[in-house]
């Protein structure tokens, strides 16, 4: 995925500034840092990273108990006129990304926005697709997909669960 990103942005003839990687908390944030590590390793150029919490922009706030906000931390370079790559663990309905696009608009005006996800599990509810996908995992709507990362969960894993309690959309 890092090679793809380098090919598409960092080393492109059209641009000299590296892209900005913004992770969507909780698990997108460490994923963005990992992706930046790889890009630095392969191209020698480290893209700035940050975190963008989208809770305040979600369209399902009314239906759920109030949730705690997560960290938003934009890189000092800002996002104006940069290529911003949103990084998340699982792409499902697309609603989180919709909220992220709205949140970005309030922070500035990127030159372009792209999307990188570790797992694309299908079942989109909005016209949104990822530019970079780690793995496509065909799932049933009732199944659950969780990504575990050593930074947040102590180990790396992608778990596919059969339908149990409530098949919520991944956060």
């Amino acid at each position: 995925m890092a090679h793809q990103v380098i090919e598409k942005t960092a080393n492109g003839a059209e641009t000299t500034t590296p892209p900005v990687l913004l992770g969507i908390p909780t698990r997108g944030t460490p994923l963005a840092v990992r992706l930046a590590d790889r890009i630095e390793e392969f191209s020698g150029n480290r893209p700035p990273t940050g975190a963008l919490d989208v809770t305040l922009y979600r369209d399902d706030l009314r239906r759920r108990p109030p949730r705690a906000l997560e960290e938003t931390q934009l890189p000092a370079t800002g996002i104006d006129d940069r290529v911003v790559i949103l990084v998340d663990d699982v792409l499902f309905s697309g609603r989180t990304i919709r909220a992220a696009l709205d949140a970005l608009r309030d922070h500035g005006r990127p030159r372009a926005v792209q999307l990188a996800v570790l797992v694309d599990r299908g079942h989109r509810e909005l016209p949104i697709r990822a530019d970079y996908v780690g793995k496509n995992v065909p799932t049933a709507r009732t199944e659950g997909v969780s990504v575990l990362l050593s930074e947040t969960d102590g180990r790396d894993a992608v778990l596919l669960r059969a339908a149990e309690e409530s098949p919520g959309e991944p956060q």
Partner: protein
């Protein structure tokens, strides 16, 4: 959270959640192009003020607007209250007009509590923005937010609340909130300005400001509330003269020197410069008085978020 009426009995975990939310809101709004969040779009917030206020009303209004709620301000002096309408009827009118939340300030202690009972059927949230000499919970939350910011944590911090504790809803809210968050509270006041039953509060009491200052992490100065003292003028029956009060309990420049280096000076406002706090102290680096106002907006945004963002919370 359904209403916010008092900090007495407020779950410390919930208070911490509100403070954390306020921190994140402050963070996310910092340096951004558009200081507006869509979170409370379509919600209506009404401020109903039976007493004068600058910072509380303005910061609730800004908080609501930055979260995209529609904010309507009603002040008793320009409403049907002047024609003799009761609080209950006014409240039911506001609920019928579509208020999702009523923020009330009232000179009678317990007004917010009564209001929440009358509005229970309408499902309208009530926020107490100061009721008589009872409580002012959002002020205590913003004080806690400011102290957390300056001191890192409230655990085992020693905080002196100085002055007219008797008439102060700010003091009462802070006593409960700060002690529930792990701080030690000491009240410093003349015996005439301490409330009845002070021995039941989670505080220690002192009458000697100079003796307390070297050991505190923060000092919160209270305004002498002349308007609540029978007889009118300050000190008519509670202390001999304004000058004597100021000498015994005012935070002078000399007293500022007694405080530890890291100590923070707070004042809920409005300040009487030269009475309870010297002008130079209010403007010193130790003073967090303007930070309090700034944090007030974020704390009130966090309160509205926890009350209104989720329909599940109201159920």
């Amino acid at each position: 959270m359904k209403h916010l009426l008092a900090t007495d009995g407020l779950d410390p975990a919930l208070a911490t959640a509100v403070l954390d939310t306020a921190d994140e809101l402050k963070h996310t709004l910092l340096g951004r192009e558009v200081r507006k969040l869509p979170t409370l779009r379509g919600r209506t917030v009404i401020t109903l003020f039976y007493e004068n206020s600058t910072r509380t009303r303005v910061s609730f209004e800004i908080a609501g607007k930055w979260m995209s709620a529609d904010v309507v301000n009603v002040s008793a002096s320009s409403s049907s209250v002047n024609k003799g309408e009761s609080l209950r009827d006014t409240a039911l009118t506001l609920a019928a007009a579509g208020a999702d939340c009523v923020i009330i300030r009232h000179p009678a202690s317990g007004a917010a509590q009564r209001l929440s009972g009358w509005l229970a059927d309408a499902g309208t949230a009530v926020v107490n923005a100061g009721d008589g000499t009872h409580e002012h919970p959002t002020q205590a939350l913003l004080d806690a937010a400011t102290l957390r910011e300056r001191l890192g944590s409230l655990k085992d911090r020693r905080i002196a609340i100085v002055g007219d504790v008797l008439h102060s809803r700010v003091a009462r809210s802070n006593i409960h909130l700060l002690s529930s968050l792990g701080a030690e509270v000491v009240l410093v006041a003349p015996p005439t300005l301490l409330p009845y039953g002070v021995e039941t509060l989670p505080v220690t009491v002192s009458h000697d400001l100079d003796a307390e200052l070297p050991a505190v992490d923060a000092v919160m100065m209270l305004r002498v509330q002349a308007e609540r003292m029978a007889g009118g003028g300050p000190g008519q029956s509670f202390f001999p003269s304004a000058r004597e009060y100021s000498i015994a309990y005012g935070l002078s420049e000399k007293r500022l020197g007694l405080l530890p280096e890291h100590a923070v000076v707070l004042h809920p406002g409005p300040m009487l410069r030269g009475m309870e706090i010297a002008s130079a102290v209010a403007d010193s680096p130790a003073s967090a008085i303007t930070e309090q106002v700034r944090n007030g907006v974020h704390v009130r945004m966090a309160v509205l978020y926890h009350l209104l963002a989720s329909e599940g919370a109201a159920a």
